[in-house]
């Protein structure tokens, strides 16, 4: 890809000056030569990827190919894994996320994450969503906090189903509702980027369809990166798709192109079901 030939720019502290100017237009996320190591084992090799704003990028690939690892390095969740090391440069909004002056807590506030298994806190639905705004001090008053919670639930398409039991435990909801609650929790802190790590793998088809609708709706305002094992899902929800294999970013491009006319043989093999 042509980005590799571009001179490597370090930008520490002055994020505004170095806005990325790649061929894809306004990139929300840019990664350059990202390598991830778990102890001595290398899981990702020199990933260079630009992700445009207000769109859905799906990461596909066989199990263990490093797509989740890449996703987790975007909000530095890998920091919580002992022995994990990330090299290379990742920029969100042109700002290097490994900048020592950057606060990782703030980063995770700006980059929301939804996990494979729905993981609501064992608290009420309200407290689940209010937790993020509370710890970041986003709410000016109690009524403002309530407003944030209601808006987030509405955006996550859950308000109609739970508005009568907003103070009941979030763990009492069904799997699909729990996952939408987790999405509502993620958007409650007003992130710019939402990372989704196989958000539908634990859900039935109907709940999956609802989440996909929600993703379609959310992409109007957010940049969404979704890891998925379902190629149909990638084809349905995403505008661009990246294919990972054995820790290497094999191919990236508009979703339609990847699925109809892949350049790499490995991509072709994978999407036609030869392996994976």
């Amino acid at each position: 890809m042509n980005e590799q030939s571009r001179p490597f720019e370090m930008s520490i502290g002055d994020s505004g000056q170095v806005a990325s100017d790649t061929s894809t237009g306004a990139s929300k996320v840019t990664s350059r030569n990202v390598c991830v190591f778990y102890g001595d084992k290398q899981a990702l090799f020199d990933v260079n990827l630009d992700i445009p704003d207000r769109s859905v990028m799906s990461l596909i690939g066989p199990s263990g190919c490093g797509k989740s690892t890449f996703l987790r390095s975007l909000n530095r969740m890998n920091d919580t894994i002992p022995g994990c090391r990330v090299t290379g440069e990742i920029k969100v909004d042109g700002r290097d996320i490994h900048d020592p002056e950057l606060d990782v807590v703030e980063l995770r506030g700006r980059v929301g994450m939804v996990f494979q298994k729905p993981n609501p806190f064992p608290k009420s639905i309200f407290d689940n969503i209010a937790y993020g705004p509370r710890i970041h001090g986003l709410a000016r008053s109690k009524s403002h906090l309530e407003e944030i919670v209601i808006t987030s639930l509405e955006k996550a398409g859950l308000l109609g189903e739970v508005k009568d039991r907003i103070h009941e435990p979030g763990t009492g909801l069904s799997g699909g509702q729990q996952q939408r609650l987790c999405i509502a929790r993620a958007i409650a802190v007003n992130p710019e980027l939402i990372l989704m790590d196989e958000p539908c793998s634990a859900l039935d088809p109907i709940a999956t369809a609802k989440i996909e609708e929600l993703i379609d709706e959310l992409k109007k305002n957010y940049c969404i990166i979704i890891v998925t094992h379902s190629m149909q899902q990638a084809a349905r929800v995403s505008q661009r798709t990246a294919f990972f294999h054995l820790g290497i970013l094999v191919e990236e491009g508009p979703t339609a192109e990847i699925f109809t006319n892949p350049k790499d043989k490995r991509t072709q093999d994978y999407i036609t079901g030869r392996f994976g």
Binding site: R108, G109, F115, N119, Y131, H136, C182, V189
Partner: protein
């Protein structure tokens, strides 16, 4: 494919699942399964049996301590004897004994009164004093107060000690049985005698004066010749005191026997006489001075003035030299203070240590070393912690001896490893998805710990803490070493720095006391301790079940 099966068939015949050998194998397998089950059942049965025996013996010997024999006294609180401005200072001994002696108007002599007074507990006057101090408005009235009997009468009333005990030990009875077999024991005219060959030695009769002969010596010689091996049985013990007199009477009656060996029936001493006639020898229980003691006691009983109410003193009173008045209040207070200190020290320190080790510590040799040592700490004998407390807390820091503060500090050394291990297990049990969720919305490490991980781990932590405290409650050795077995007759001045005792050390001191009443008091105290332990463990189980409901 077909080739390989055919080949396999040639090489080894296919396994016949219905053959006799196969059936035998199946039978053996079943038998082994059943054996394993039987071993397990046997082990459980043995454990339950031993536990049952322990509890049964404790309850059997301890239940009597839950009632105390009391006598109702009608005491006229004479205003001329009790100063109402200072009611504690009157001569309550005189008042109490006076009221008691009123039951026995025929007892007048001082020595008899002294004997009679022993029926009342020495602590009875204090019971009356405490009553008057509490009800000063009743001075001048006649009141009915129940005061405890002294230990021997309390035990007599409960049937713990008998009125009569065996006068002879079993080895004495065995020796006597040997004599009976030899046919030398006779019962003549209601008197037990032993037939002995006596040589009436003329050398022992000076100048032929039959009156002045040393018949004692003759009997002793005869006895020695007759029972050369009965070394443990002396003739003074076996033979009546008037044995020599009987021989003298015989020789005077038959002067011709002097110089001869005669067969003489020597009378037996009282206990052996009774054994020869009735087959058993009883004597009055030496705890009671005379048979009159029983008469007095029986007369009290017949009059219905004795009662056996529940022993509230066991929980209300503190320690006492008199078992009928001794209670556990001081020990319970001391244990409470020590456990409080232990909890306040070990709970925060334990959680902080576990949190650091589990969540923050880098995985290197040093943290591994600490980890191994914490696990080892749990295996250190408690007496070692006691010595440590003695050497460090008392000698170096100069903290007071016997104080619950030091006791709690020593116990917290023992509780810490339990709490740390339990807390780490509870922290590990919090699902990682919760941490990820919290990190994912931008919580800092501190917020993840304090808002999510610790609250979710808290039931597990509390379970470990309660079990650790229950262990500490029953710990004796370290408390003994720092001297926390003080004699505490009142809980009024107890505090963190004052001398104190604890439940297990109280049990230890009571078990060491000679009075009969302390035997049942000890068992009762053990039952109280066990009740506390069972309660604490039940709370721990309840808390643990709540955590399981949550996930």
């Amino acid at each position: 494919m077909s080739d390989t099966t055919a080949q396999g068939g040639e090489l080894s015949s296919p396994h016949d699942w219905g053959s006799a050998a196969a059936k035998r194998r199946v039978r053996r397998r079943y038998a082994a399964d059943r054996r394993l089950q039987a071993y397990g059942l046997g082990a459980i049965g043995l454990a339950v049996l031993l536990l049952g025996v322990l509890f049964a013996s404790l309850i059997f010997s301890g239940y009597v301590a839950f009632t105390t024999t009391k006598v109702a006294l009608n005491i006229y609180l004479d205003p001329s004897l009790i100063d109402s401005s200072n009611p504690g200072a009157a001569n309550y001994r005189k008042l109490t004994r006076g009221a008691f002696f009123a039951y026995f108007p025929d007892v007048t002599s001082a020595s008899e009164k002294r004997e009679l007074g022993k029926i009342l507990s020495s602590g009875a006057p204090y019971v009356v004093r405490d009553y008057v101090v509490e009800h000063p408005d009743e001075i001048g009235k006649e009141v009915k107060i129940y005061v405890p009997l002294s230990d021997p009468y309390d035990q007599l009333n409960k049937g713990v000690i008998p009125r009569e005990i065996d006068a002879l030990t079993s080895d004495r009875i065995a020796l006597f049985k040997i004599l009976t077999k030899r046919g030398v024991i006779h019962v003549d005219a209601g008197k037990g005698t032993v037939l002995v060959d006596v040589y009436v030695n003329p050398g022992d009769i000076p100048d032929g004066n039959l009156e002045a002969g040393d018949y004692q010596r003759m009997v002793a010689e005869a006895f020695r010749a007759f029972f050369p091996h009965a070394l443990t049985l002396t003739y003074e013990e076996l033979l009546a005191e008037d044995a020599a007199e009987a021989l003298k009477a015989h020789v005077i009656a038959n002067p011709g026997d002097v110089g001869k060996t005669i067969q003489f029936k020597v009378p037996l001493s009282a206990h052996y006489d009774s054994l020869a006639r009735t087959g058993e020898a009883k004597m009055r229980n030496p705890r009671f001075a005379s048979a009159r003691d029983f008469e007095w006691f029986d007369s009290l009983k017949e009059r219905g003035v004795l009662s056996s109410p529940f022993t509230w003193e066991l929980f209300v009173n503190s320690d006492s030299r008199f078992p009928e008045l001794a209670g556990l209040a001081g020990a319970l207070t001391g244990s409470f203070f020590a456990l409080l200190v232990c909890f306040l020290l070990s709970f925060p320190v334990g959680i902080a240590t576990a949190l650091y080790l589990e969540e923050f510590a880098p995985k290197n040799r040093f943290s591994q070393l600490i980890e191994v040592n914490i696990n080892n700490l749990a295996a250190v004998p408690s007496v070692v912690f006691g010595l440590l407390g003695l050497a460090v807390f008392l000698n170096i820091f100069g903290l007071p001896r016997s104080a619950p503060l030091v006791g709690g500090m020593v116990l917290s050394l023992m509780t810490l490893p339990t709490i740390i291990v339990a807390t780490r297990a509870a922290l590990k049990a919090v699902p990682p998805s919760i941490r990820e969720a919290a990190y994912g919305v931008g919580a800092s490490k501190h917020q993840v710990m304090m808002h999510h991980v610790l609250p979710l781990a808290m039931p597990g932590i509390l379970t470990g803490t309660i079990i650790g405290l229950a262990q500490a409650l029953g710990e004796t050795a370290p408390l003994l070493l720092i001297g926390m077995n003080a004699f505490i007759p009142s809980i009024e001045n107890m505090g963190l720095l004052q001398p104190a005792t604890a439940l297990p050390t109280q049990i230890f001191s009571w078990a060491d006391s000679p009075e009969r009443g302390f035997v049942s008091r000890t068992s009762a105290a053990i039952l109280v301790l066990l009740a506390f332990l069972v309660t604490m463990n039940a709370i721990a189980v309840y808390v643990r079940q709540r955590i399981e409901r949550k996930w």
